[in-house]
């Protein structure tokens, strides 16, 4: 038998250190980093670092050798090399003051495209949708960032455009499932093509940009994410029958910006729109370019009939279609002895998701100017509601006539009338102020959290808790708590416990007659001891001058119940402990690891519970004092 050499196979072959990889690819470290980000290549932690590093235990980063091998033939790397040469030529031309040469070079600079890399990384569309979380979060961050010397304005503009296109799509298709306003920003969850996509949007404030952050890395990621989202959006729009890229309503960009400026026009409708100019949509289409201030367009602008108009009307069309093309029900044949018929799960019209889609469709919301419009608008539109924004209305009614491009006479009375007609439709007003000076009768006044909670619960939450100036109920994460603690359940439990106690007192009598006499005997013994103790305590407290309250006796009752319950539990637990003896070492380790996590969760749950109890006690005490 031949002697096998060490470090010739296995982990030593499968993994390659970073330095080796860079040498093999003949790239600079920065270029290597970029290609890794584009191609989604990441370091690995081999099972045995020593084996992978050929016997050395020095800390090293390992890559999978085949990943690097694939990179050898990557066209983008060739472009990197071309770019290096281009940079050299350009710098030489600039050094010589050869401006025209430099310009020519710059025009023909080598450019790479990432579309094939996107396709390579996500062979199917669903793969791409599944991996959108990070892409969206990054794009939304850059959309909110100011342009600086590190981040060019083009980049932020592109990011903002893509973000708005994404939101416009989600709103039109009513795909939003969850909203969570956290201290970091707003989390959204949409269900796109059956995949959960969660992204985080920062609040609209200038971001704090730490100085020690390498923006090149983030921009490289952004470059890839931009390409990814472009192609994903194209496909999504195409599947939804909408033209991509959506046209931007110039008037609305000036007014509100955001998703309401996007005209989502269907591919089928496009032709008809061009022919029939009587419909409202046609006006938005054709006249938007020439006369941005015509009444009808502005009407669109105000109502946000928008998103409102275009989205909603298109959605109406869809609805009509849906009405005509009602789903056929497949009723399964009753299964016989010979034939067993499977029942296929079918889309249910009354499913919570379907309800959520049209939760707000009968309502028109008047959004106060103090409310962050982009959050509320997106949510309401996704639930089928209509939005009227105070800030947009103000802009419409108090237009600066001098600033108009063509000195057109603005008929303010007519405008006022339009607005009044519009305001009549408003059912809810969302405002975020401590108090309101005047209220319009017939409107429901709520704080913005009502919108989010309604979506998360999948039903219209009672309004009274969210009234203006009221202390809001806690805003809970739709994804629950990591430790499995549910603050709402706790509330229910405590309510339940009180009623349970009464019930059990009645039941307790019956139990005595039952067959658990033995246990009763035991209990009696314990009771005797307890009573003695109880008596002692009472005496002590009397000596101190405190009335031994009835709550204490209640507690005692509860305490009585516990051992009865725990006797069985104890036995079970004991048996469990005994069975643990017979576990193998491996099983024991695994079991203990699992128990660690479980214990941690358990302790967190317990601490939260005790805190809650304490708080409630304090509250009760306060009430009593009052």
């Amino acid at each position: 038998m031949r002697i096998k050499k060490k470090h010739q196979a296995g982990a030593a072959k499968n993994f390659i250190t970073r330095t080796q990889a860079v040498k093999k690819l003949q790239l600079s470290l920065a270029d290597f980093r970029r290609i890794c980000i584009f191609k989604g290549i990441y370091p690995r932690a081999p099972r045995s670092a020593k084996k992978a590093n050929k016997g050395s235990t020095a800390p090293t980063t390992f890559y999978y050798t085949k990943d690097i091998q694939y990179l050898l033939h990557e066209p983008v790397i060739q472009k990197f090399r071309d770019h290096k040469i281009f940079a050299r030529k350009l710098s030489r031309a600039l050094g010589r003051g050869d401006v025209s040469d430099a310009k020519r070079l710059d025009e023909n600079r080598p450019r790479y495209r990432l579309d094939l890399i996107v396709k390579e990384r996500y062979p199917t569309f669903l793969d791409a949708v599944r991996d959108l979380d990070d892409a969206l979060s990054m794009l939304f961050l850059f959309a909110a960032m100011p342009a600086s010397d590190k981040v060019s304005a083009r980049v932020t503009e592109d990011a903002e455009k893509l973000c708005n296109q994404w939101m416009a799509y989600v709103a039109r298709e009513r795909l939003l499932r969850k909203v969570f306003v956290s201290i970091k920003g707003v989390y959204y969850e949409a269900e796109v093509k059956g995949q959960e996509v969660v992204w985080l949007v920062p609040f609209k404030f200038p971001q704090n940009i730490p100085t020690d952050i390498d923006f090149r890395i983030m921009l490289t990621f952004l470059e890839f994410y931009t390409t990814l989202l472009q192609f994903v959006l194209y496909r999504l729009y195409a599947n939804a029958g909408i033209v991509y890229p959506p046209k931007i309503d110039a008037a609305k960009v000036q007014g509100v910006g955001g998703i309401s400026a996007y005209v989502m026009e269907g591919k089928r409708e496009k032709e008809s729109l061009l022919q029939t100019s009587t419909t409202k949509k046609a006006i938005t289409e054709s006249e938007m370019a020439s006369r941005a201030q015509t009444i009808s367009t502005v009407l669109n602008k105000i109502t946000d009939h928008a998103a409102g108009d275009t989205i909603a009307t298109l959605a109406d069309d869809d609805d009509e279609e849906e009405v005509t093309e009602t789903l056929d029900k497949f009723t399964a044949l009753p299964s016989t002895d010979t034939v067993i018929s499977d029942i296929i799960p079918q889309p249910d019209e009354t499913s919570p998701e379907e309800i959520v889609k049209t939760l707000f469709s009968p309502f028109t919301f008047y959004v106060g100017r103090e409310v962050p419009l982009e959050i509320v608008e997106f949510t309401i539109l996704s639930l089928g509601g209509t939005v009227v924004s105070e800030s947009v209305l103000d802009g419409y009614l108090h237009v600066d006539t001098d600033a108009l491009p063509d000195a057109e006479e603005v008929d303010f009375d007519a405008r006022q009338r339009e607005v009044d007609a519009l305001l009549k439709k408003v059912t809810h007003q969302i405002c975020d102020r401590p108090a309101l000076a005047s209220r319009v009768p017939g409107r429901i006044y709520v704080q913005p959290q009502w919108v989010f909670d309604s979506l998360n619960r999948g039903r219209l939450v009672p309004v009274d808790e969210y009234a203006v100036g009221a202390t809001l109920p806690p805003h809970l994460s739709p994804w629950g708590d990591g430790a499995g603690y549910d603050p709402e359940d706790i509330g229910k439990e405590e309510e339940g416990e009180e009623s349970e106690e009464e019930d059990e007192e009645v039941e307790g009598d019956k139990e005595v007659e039952g067959d658990e006499e033995e246990i009763e005997v035991d209990e009696e013994e314990e009771d005797e001891e307890d009573e003695a103790l109880q008596h002692q305590r009472e005496l002590e407290s009397e000596a101190k001058g405190i009335i031994y309250s009835s709550t204490a006796s209640k507690k005692r009752k509860r305490a009585d119940k516990k051992p009865k319950k725990s006797a069985e539990e104890k036995q079970a637990e004991e048996e469990k402990e005994l069975r643990k003896i017979m576990m193998t070492n491996k099983q024991k380790k695994l079991y203990n690891q699992m128990q660690y996590g479980i214990q941690k969760k358990e302790t967190r749950r317990e601490t939260l519970k005790t805190k809650r109890r304490k708080l409630e006690k304090n509250k009760q005490n306060k009430k009593r004092v009052l």
């Binding site: 980093r33 890794c36 980000i37 290549i41 990441y42 370091p43 690995r44 390992f62 999978y64 495209r113 990432l114 996107v118 062979p123 199917t124 793969d127 979060s137 961050l141 969570f180 306003v181 956290s182 201290i183 970091k184 920062p202 609040f203 404030f205 971001q207 704090n208 730490p210 890395i217 983030m218 990621f221 931009t226 390409t227 472009q230 192609f231 194209y234 496909r235 103090e370 959290q449 806690p474 809970l476 994460s477 994804w479 708590d481 603050p487 004991e574 005994l578 069975r579 643990k580 003896i581 017979m582 576990m583 695994l590 079991y591 699992m594 128990q595 479980i598 519970k609 809650r612 708080l615």
Partner: protein, 838 residues
């Protein structure tokens, strides 16, 4: 020879002129050669010059020029016709002068050249130059004309330039005709009888062409020999005769030939008719030309002159006239521009088209719609970020808000070690929520994680932890087994180290550190009998009842002594039988022992007890050399072993009660012996050292097996009543079960005690065993051994008996099973013995 060479040398110089003449463009030379020509010709020459200057040549014009040239020649011929004969004479004269063998044609050529050699040199060069230029331009022009036929625009230009050239020529001719009349002084009768104009004497002023040619012979190409008969040799520029210079007599010439004057060549100057003299330098030059060397005074190694240097010159270096192409719009460019214009008109090129950024080109990337594939095994997708929980809410439930201590703790911990990267905060309304300071940083860190963090696939077991617990029969189904402590036997002071129950199961014997042996009534817990055996409070190490029914013998070891007692608790018959059995040995001991036993006798003495001990019920005392830690009876009750770990090769001794005899089975030390025990029914001895349990066959006196429990220090072991299984307990907390049929290694190793295991015991009848430990607990197990060899023993933990208190880190020291019931007796460091019943 010299003459011939000269003529040969002249030939190449003459050639260029002939070639120029063939092209028919010898305007320059013509002007010089024919100064007094008809005014018509002169005008035509000027015309041609003009056209040259115009730099526009056309085929038509060329044709005209050619015609003009023909006319010129004709006129020339006319002039010279009458002098034909004369020219022949000249030829002959020259022939004689230059060379005899030269042909006439050549000679004529040479002569004509020779005449105007110096004068024509410059002009020839010029002509050559112009000719070349013209040639080139002609070609260009031809090409242009062909092109012009295609493009109309160009034609217009052509016409314009032509027209202007023609008009210029006309104006010039009119001026020259005016001047003609003024030049004529008077007319005389010519040779043809017509008036012959006589011109004014030409005043060759500075601007005149011939200013430097004074007294020039003007006979032109006519050979000088033609004037041989005349006293003159030609005419000067004014038409006056140039008289032949005076020639000396034949003698003079002979003298001259003998006495060669300086510079003599023997040639006659055509111009003057005198001897042609050449200076030394001139001769040198001719020689150089002959040899093909550089004729001029040229230094081949001259310093380079940097004409084109970094210095900016004020004046232009080249005086060359600007070429035509610099002034004329390029047709080629025009053509290219027209192409682009056409492309723009046709829409093939869209000017000022906004550039489409390549990244903005979007299409359906997933059009081919692949089926979802299983990702590569080695691919590890990046984990998604954890979903936000309630405590991240802007308005969380109040219990999530951190307390003061939690905030402090959070602030104190390093950012790396924090469980959460934020502190929960509560805001009363949405409008009060500020920005999140670390938003950018968190995104950045996520990016870093995505491309920089080594990934590893961790298989997360998504199973119920309880499923890991082995499936065992419920202890409830395996009853009876001891559950609770029913009786506690108190009385010992200090630790109780030994316990034994008699075969009837009624009497419990215990021994402790206080040096007493006590017998208790099992059910009531009453102390019945007590004997103090240890001298000076020596601890009782071991107490064992004789296993034979109704023998009533109790073996007690304390210190180095073993006491065989007959406690007075049985009926008289039993007592008497026991006494007889013990006493019988004295007789054997009295007999002289065999020689080999003498030594052993000395080491282990069987003596009668003192009266004090005898009164307490002790019948026999065996004195050993070392402390006897353990006693174990043979099942027949005649033999028992005593183990004294320090005894080296005498550590295990086998005592025979009936003969008061002691044997040492081992010659050599086998290590520190912990325990020794007889097989339940086979003649075998099991001996436990610190690490091994050795099994000796007593009949063959050989080692059959050595078990390796894998423990560091065994404390105890016990043999299953069927003899095929052994359990061991060790001080390193392990209990092992050995199946002797399987291996020398343990079948199961169990670790459940938290302290050293002190004792392990099998029940003699029921499938039960137990282990006692210093942690104060006794673990009771069910252990079924099947007759089927293929089935492994079934071990089920049944109960943990907790009751003994731990004193000075010692817990339960010894246990004993009731011979019939599932009862267990245990003694501990707390000074009590306990009975555990089911």
């Amino acid at each position: 020879m010299a003459k011939r060479k000269l003529a040969g040398a002249k030939k190449p110089a003459a050639k260029p002129q002939t070639s120029v003449q063939i092209t028919g463009n010898q305007q320059g030379s013509k002007l010089e050669n024919v100064p007094a020509r008809a005014p018509r010709l002169l005008i035509e020459d000027e015309d041609e010059d003009n056209e040259d200057g115009d730099e526009e040549g056309y085929i038509d014009d060329e044709a005209e020029e050619a015609e003009d040239d023909e006319l010129e020649y004709e006129s020339d011929l006319d002039e010279y016709d009458d002098e034909d004969d004369v020219s022949e004479k000249f030829e002959g004269l020259l022939d004689g002068a230059i060379s005899d063998s030269e042909s006439e044609d050549e000679a004529s050529d040479d002569a004509s050249e020779g005449d105007g050699e110096e004068d024509d040199a410059d002009a020839n060069e010029e002509a050559l130059h112009f000719g070349e230029d013209d040639e080139n331009e002609e070609h260009e022009d031809e090409a242009e004309v062909i092109k012009n036929s295609v493009s109309d625009d160009d034609e217009e230009d052509e016409y314009l330039s032509k027209y202007s050239a023609a008009s210029e020529a006309e104006s010039l001719s009119s001026i020259s005709s005016d001047q003609d009349d003024s030049r004529i002084a008077y007319y005389t009768a010519g040779a043809d009888g017509g008036p012959r104009p006589i011109y004014h004497e030409i005043d060759p002023h500075y601007s005149s062409d011939d200013s430097d040619l004074e007294d020039m012979n003007t006979i032109g190409n006519v050979p000088l020999s033609a004037y041989d008969e005349y006293p003159h040799i030609g005419y000067d520029i004014n038409g006056k005769r140039i008289m032949r210079p005076a020639t000396g007599s034949a003698l003079d010439s002979l003298l001259d030939s003998i006495e060669v004057p300086e510079g003599w060549t023997g040639l006659i100057d055509k111009e003057s008719g005198a001897d042609l003299k050449l200076t030394k330098d001139e001769l040198e030059l001719v020689k150089k030309i002959q040899l093909g060397e550089n004729a001029g005074d040229v230094n081949p190694y001259e310093n380079t002159i940097e004409w084109f240097s970094s210095k900016t010159e004020i004046m232009a270096l080249s005086a060359a006239p600007e070429p035509k192409r610099r002034f004329v719009p390029s047709r080629h460019e025009a053509k290219r521009i027209m192409k682009i214009v056409k492309a723009i008109r046709e829409g093939r090129i869209v000017p000022n088209k906004p550039k489409v950024r390549p990244e903005q080109m979007v299409y359906d990337l997933w059009a081919d719609d692949l089926q979802e594939q299983q990702p590569h095994v080695m691919h590890i997708p990046a984990p998604k970020l954890a979903k936000p929980t309630n405590d991240e809410s802007y308005n969380p439930p109040e219990e999530y808000l951190p307390s003061e201590e939690e905030i402090n703790a959070w602030n104190e911990t390093d950012a790396m070690d924090r469980e959460r990267d934020y502190l929960p905060r509560k805001y009363s309304s949405l409008r009060t929520v500020p920005r999140y300071e670390d938003f950018v940083r968190e995104r950045f860190e996520r990016s870093l994680d995505l491309y920089l963090a080594p990934r590893v696939r961790k298989n997360k077991l998504n199973i119920d932890p309880d499923s890991l617990l082995p499936k065992l029969p419920s202890p409830q189904d395996l009853r009876p087994f001891p559950i609770k402590c029913s009786v506690t036997y108190r009385g010992h002071k200090g630790r109780v180290r030994a316990v034994s129950i008699d075969s009837s199961g009624l009497w419990l014997a215990t021994g402790g550190d206080d040096g007493t042996v006590r017998i208790w009534e099992v059910l009531t817990g009453r102390e019945i009998w007590k004997a103090t055996v240890g001298d000076d409070d020596e601890a009782v190490q071991s107490v064992e009842w004789n296993p034979v029914k109704d023998s009533g013998i109790l073996a007690v070891s304390a210190g180095e002594k073993i006491f065989l007692c007959l406690p007075p608790i049985f009926d008289d018959e039993t007592e008497v039988a026991g006494q007889e059995l013990l006493a019988a040995g004295w007789g054997y001991a009295a007999q002289p022992a065999p020689v080999e036993h003498i030594n052993k006798e000395q080491q282990c003495k069987w003596i009668k007890p003192s009266t004090k001990l005898a009164s307490q019920g002790v019948d026999v005392v065996i004195v050993c050399r070392k402390t006897v830690k353990q006693i174990a009876w043979h099942r027949r009750g005649d033999y028992f072993t005593g183990v004294s770990p320090e005894g080296a090769n005498m550590a295990v001794l086998v005592h025979q009660v009936s003969k008061h005899n002691t044997q040492s089975p081992f010659r050599k030390s086998k290590g520190i012996i912990q325990r020794a025990q007889f097989h339940p029914f086979k003649p075998m001895l099991y001996v436990a050292t610190q690490r091994y349990v050795r099994i000796y066959d007593l009949s063959t006196q050989s080692l059959t097996k050595a078990l390796q429990p894998g423990a560091r220090w065994l404390s105890s072991f016990d043999i299953h009543p069927q003899g095929d299984n052994v359990i061991t307990g060790s001080y390193d907390k392990r209990v092992t079960w050995h199946d002797l049929d399987l291996s020398t290694k343990p079948y199961r190793t169990l670790r459940y005690h938290t302290r050293a295991v002190r004792d392990v015991r099998f029940h003699t009848r029921l499938p039960l065993f137990c282990s006692a430990s210093d942690d104060g607990y006794i673990n009771v197990f069910h252990g079924t051994v099947y007759d089927d060899l293929l089935r492994n023993p079934l071990l089920v933990p049944l109960k943990v008996l907790k009751g003994h208190t731990v004193v000075q880190s010692l817990g339960v020291l010894k246990v004993a099973w009731h011979p019939k019931e599932a009862w267990l007796f245990s003694v501990g460091a707390d000074g009590t013995a306990k009975l555990w019943t089911s």
